[in-house]
Symmetry: C2
Subunit: 334 residues, 2 copies
């Protein structure tokens, strides 16, 4: 069953990784319920009748995204595809129907061609009222391996938090969708990889990087970024991430929510060091860092790397950000 | 300043990693205050007068341990040494004096020779009333590279949480210390490494592992464990961790707090898969898994690996576990 040629990971058979990891996730978190057959994670306690529900999902390999954000104040359900593979329309239809309390469902979709297509198809098939927000905030490239237009990455999680809080307040579907679109257009991200991730079934790094190279602008599936660059200091790398973000959107004069996100294989000691560099660059540019997150929130398996997400906020968005949340991966105020 | 020969990490000069990472940590978390000169992280809002204070610390490289656990319901301060290096007595003396509200201070010390010696020396030098608990729960080996007796690892964090809650209730120093010793003797841990970590100043892996080997019973500084074994399945590895824990202590018939801890370089998708295996083995052995934690809580830089900690609990310990906590790395109920 196991052979020593296999990649160095805590797995059994590569084809069972997604099912077994989801089962372990559900075993660890009694506040969620796993439908193992359709690979959907639900809140154990559904929302009150007449409240807008939030659904997201995508390929696995980005943990804790998305299942880790199912719970009070964020998602009502998350659909899981295979590793780096879109979930199917029937998974999305089932989840949409199950969480619809009568007020409709917001689909939160990262901008990857397969995800967009399958969520679209599900919207046509479901009998629920659905609004969709596409997240496409990664400034690295205009089109990418699996994407027409920009990729959606770290901002997805910030959006799920803020819009989830608004849904708990009882706002209607049109209001929730409008807020989601406002958040989606107000944030920007950029990432960098020091190493490739390795997909278990492949057993080999997705892309090759020499010991002295990094990929600037990498995607969360290992898609090529802007350029292959020589390894640089944290100070220099921070500028490679922050400058394109600031060049793409006006962040001055408003408070910002800033995430320094690890890609899965980079430890906190480095992420905090990078955050110090990033915060200092943002403040020099006149951005007020009002809220921060540092850690592994939107990952790419075991990739060593990090990304920066900056969201231009205001009092309303900060209030929704601060509202109570109770999910496996994000919890405060409760 | 930077050269491409340097190790693939988000750092500037290796000698600045600890100071810069602590500065980034403090910049991310306004609820703590960093004394940069003495490398001590304090709660921004000190405890009320007459409340027992908790101090821990040790070498850095184990983030979020210890600074990530400074805050309401856990530590009052954490002293940081260089990477994998004990803090000095004068750091410990300064921190002890600063957090003593008149009710005395509990020192929580992982069982490494340098840590024990320097906390001991500080206890002789300080004018505060001090009690000390030594954590030494790793069942892998009886003596180790930097340790006489067993090593202290993951249980340290569980102890900080439970005893921190008791201190917030206003228990006196003798009661807090007695509880800490009860927790310290009620838990067991065991870890495994798939790869070595790399200390920035060295730039080379601490130990060599071939592509088909793992270190069973590894220490959090890369100390040798019980044996070098061929790579195995998650199912088999889980048994290599759980069996020695169950053989060393009676866990049946009581609820348990179980942590599946990542060593820094292993992503959540694998940690959850391992948790599923571990939980199922524990339940087969009659252990009731009452509370769980899955994630990077006590790490070893960028080591790919994980550890299991099982704490035999009762209603009192579970109540203290569930009590509100508000720290950068652990937050609930608030």
């Amino acid at each position: 069953m196991w052979d020593a040629e296999t990649v160095k990971k805590f797995i059994n058979r590569p084809e069972d990784v997604v099912a077994e990891s989801l089962a372990g996730f559900a075993a660890a978190h009694p506040e969620v319920r796993l439908d193992a057959a359709s690979r959907v994670v639900y809140r154990a306690e559904p929302k009150p009748h007449g409240t807008v529900a939030l659904l997201s999902g995508g390929g696995t390999g980005h943990e804790p995204l998305h299942a880790g954000y199912v719970g009070f104040g964020m998602l009502d359900a998350a659909v899981a595809g295979e590793i780096f593979t879109s979930p199917t329309p029937d998974q999305i239809v089932a989840a949409t129907g199950a969480i619809d309390t009568g007020a409709g469902v917001l689909h939160i979709v990262k901008n990857y061609t397969g995800d967009v297509m399958n969520f679209d198809m599900a919207t046509e098939l479901t009998t629920s009222a659905v609004e969709t927000v596409i997240v496409a905030e990664d400034v690295a490239v205009e089109d990418s391996t699996f994407t027409a237009g920009r990729r959606g990455t770290g901002l997805t999680m910030l959006l799920e938090k803020i819009v989830g809080a608004a849904a708990e307040q009882g706002r209607d579907l049109a209001e929730v969708a409008a807020l989601a679109r406002r958040v989606a257009t107000s944030g920007r991200s950029m990432g960098v990889a020091l190493t490739s991730s390795t997909v278990p079934a492949s057993g080999r790094p997705t892309f090759a990087l020499s010991d002295s190279e990094m990929e600037v602008g990498v995607g969360i599936h290992g898609e090529p970024g802007r350029r292959r660059a020589p390894l640089a200091s944290a100070h220099e790398i921070a500028a490679m991430l922050v400058d394109p973000i600031l060049a793409d959107h006006e962040f001055g004069g408003s408070p910002a929510v800033v995430m320094l996100n690890g890609m899965g294989g980079t430890p906190l000691i480095e992420l905090y060091l990078m955050f110090g560099e990033v915060k200092s660059l943002l403040e020099k540019a006149g951005v007020t860092v009002a809220r921060t997150l540092v850690g592994n929130y939107v990952t790419s398996l075991d990739m060593a790397g990090c990304s920066v997400t900056v969201l231009r906020a205001d009092d309303e968005l900060l209030g929704l950000w601060d509202a109570p949340v109770n999910t496996p991966a994000l919890r405060w105020g409760i």
